[in-house]
């Protein structure tokens, strides 16, 4: 337990000293935030609130990128090797990565809310508890995804290729960039197989529709992401390699497919019985509908 704590402190210190971190974890998320809020939402508080879910999701999902790169770099440079002769265990190493990432990601999310409040005058942030829990679970689960990527790739190039391949569908098919209601039916069907969709839609539900934590779809988001985080963490601990020259076993790469199983099943279930796309549609409509037909409703802030 003490090893885990001191390692976490070291990771936080090192990340704060890294200029890349500043770009990926601070400048990029805020860039997205002001792009969505200022340009897409044209600064209208209710629309900014609608886009807050996707913006926060992007911040949270970005975790896997930096985490996988840091771990692979540690391995390639022989840094993990040095820890290998100490009593530090793979779980110490991995858990400290996740917690350090969480400690660093949370302030960014809070600052996004702060800007929404002060710059764009959003007063209602929906259900704060549900939002907080979703952000926490999302940060941990996408960090675990980063650990799996690190454990199944041998070189930094490989890691970056896989990251790109994962990142694009995660942001384009989940509703994080184009609202889900905007996407064609067939893409909506596909999106229900992606973990990112459950994060983005869960957050929209909590922030925009003020759904509490026991709301059906918030629970589905939380449950699926927790399962996924546990599975990916377990797998990355199993496949953990200290030494740069030890290559990942071929069949280990297949195991990674196993982490997709929960979302494969959930996707089938939701496509048949769920109402996530319908909800996304009505949320989207509520944004446009009243403005077209009538002056802003009385309950919206001025």
């Amino acid at each position: 337990m003490r090893n885990f704590a001191t390692l976490t402190r070291m990771r936080i210190q090192l990340t704060l000293r890294n200029k890349m971190f500043l770009f990926f974890s601070v400048i990029m998320p805020f860039g997205f935030f002001f792009l969505y809020s200022g340009v897409f939402a044209k600064g209208q508080p209710e629309v900014v609130r609608f886009f807050l879910g996707p913006v926060v999701s992007l911040t949270v999902m970005g975790s896997f990128w930096g985490l996988s790169a840091a771990l692979v770099m540690f391995r390639e440079q022989g840094i993990l090797r040095r820890f290998h002769v100490t009593p530090v265990t793979p779980s110490d190493m991995l858990a400290s990565s996740i917690v350090a990432n969480y400690v660093l990601a949370l302030p960014t999310v809070l600052i996004e809310f702060f800007f929404a409040r002060t710059v764009f005058h959003v007063t209602n942030f929906g259900d704060l508890l549900a939002t907080f829990v979703l952000v926490s679970v999302g940060t941990v689960s996408f960090a675990s995804l980063g650990l799996v990527v690190a454990s199944v790739t041998n070189t930094m190039q490989e890691t970056q290729v896989i990251n790109q391949l994962l990142w694009l569908p995660l942001i384009f098919l989940s509703g994080a960039t184009f609202p889900l209601a905007f996407l064609p039916k067939i893409v909506q069907n596909v999106s229900l197989f992606l973990p990112a969709t459950y994060l983005v839609q869960g957050l929209r539900r909590a922030i925009f529709e003020s759904a509490p934590i026991w709301d059906r779809n918030v629970l589905i988001s939380l449950g699926s992401l927790v399962c996924w985080a546990a599975l990916t963490f377990f797998l990355s601990a199993q496949l953990f390699r200290w030494e740069p020259e030890v290559k990942v076993r071929r069949n280990a790469k297949l195991l990674v497919v196993a982490t997709a199983i929960p979302f494969l099943l959930l996707g089938l279930w939701e496509n048949k019985f769920g109402n996530i796309p319908a909800q996304a549609q009505s949320a989207f409509d509520s944004l446009n509908g009243p403005q077209k037909s009538a002056p802003p409703p009385a309950d919206s802030p001025k």
Binding site: N3, M10, G78, R81, R82, T89, W242
Partner: protein, 306 residues
């Protein structure tokens, strides 16, 4: 054998088709500096990494501090300290932070301040790892190996890639540890290092121990002979030199001839006569008392240079 702290019996390790270690055996007594001397790729590092619990062995038996490195690696890691080959630390970690961090992993700890002072790193305490020189990095590596006041120290090629002056600094540090009666297992491919630092040396080649003993024992094992190295104008049939007076052994090595002789003056006179008779000429001649290098050449037929 009663107080041996480390035993290796018939150790075998392969990587795919390559047999890196083929039946290595030795034991190390408490307070001893033990050297594994051999060229790169001889299996030294594999052997040491198995002893540290970093790699699994294929067959054989090893025990370090009474523990099995494979099954009790967690307990073992509290008892050992190591300076590994080709490791690094995060660029933006400061010297003092590294010592504090690594000492936090152990039950038994030494004061990092004292280590800092002892390894001459006080002025560098707040310097980032990436800004240290090669020698400073290596001193930090040795200091880090001591944070848990280990029972056995492993130094894998502690001076590889360092310039001669820095190398001597590292020798001083290891000699000081030796005076403190630390048990040290080190690998090296520098003869000088093994002769100067080690109480006993195992010469390793192609995954096997080809000779084992104190540097002095190994040297006298080469027959108490004197080494004569000559360069000739024309190549000479190897067998002819062996028949000179007083010669124990003669062989060709990198274009020169190394002759081991019991009676050097007689041999040299006979050599000159022999060359004159054959119309050959002496280009250079060096005489030296035998070194570990000669033992190595005798055992393996090769020089140790890489």
């Amino acid at each position: 054998m009663a107080d041996s702290i480390l035993q290796v019996e018939n150790l075998v390790k392969s990587y795919g088709d390559v047999q890196a270690v083929r039946g290595v055996s030795f034991s190390v007594d408490e307070g001893e500096v033990f050297g594994l001397l051999g060229p790169n790729g001889a299996g030294k590092t594999s052997t040491v990494e198995i002893l540290e619990g970093l790699r699994d062995l294929d067959s054989g038996r090893v025990s370090v501090c009474g523990l099995d490195p494979q099954r009790e690696s967690q307990a073992l890691k509290h008892e050992i300290g190591a300076a590994l080959q080709s490791t690094s630390l995060p660029d933006k970690l400061r010297v003092m932070e590294a010592l504090r961090l690594f000492s936090s992993f152990y039950k038994r700890r030494r004061n990092p301040e004292e280590l800092l002072k002892r390894f001459g790193l006080e002025e560098k305490r707040n310097t980032f790892y990436s800004q240290l020189s090669g020698g400073q990095k290596q001193r930090l590596a040795l200091a880090m190996a001591l944070v848990n006041d280990p029972k056995v120290l492993f130094f894998d090629e502690p001076t590889a890639g360092l310039d001669p002056q820095v190398r001597r600094e590292i020798y001083d540090i290891i000699e000081e540890l030796k005076r403190e009666k630390k048990t040290i297992v080190m690998t090296t491919h520098y003869i000088e290092e093994a002769e100067r630092l080690c109480d006993r040396v195992a010469i390793v080649d192609h995954g096997k121990v080809v000779a084992l003993g104190t540097p002095r024992e190994l040297k006298t094992r080469s027959g108490g002979t004197t080494r004569i190295e000559v360069r000739l104008a024309k190549p000479e049939a190897g067998g002819a030199l062996k028949n000179l007076e007083g010669v124990a052994d003669a062989r060709e090595l990198d274009g020169a001839y190394v002759i081991h002789s019991h009676r050097p003056p007689k041999t040299i006179v006979d050599l000159v006569k022999h060359l004159e008779a054959g119309g050959n000429e002496l280009i250079s001649l060096e005489i030296a008392s035998p070194s570990l290098e000669d033992v190595f050449i005798e055992m393996t037929g090769r020089r140790l240079r890489d």
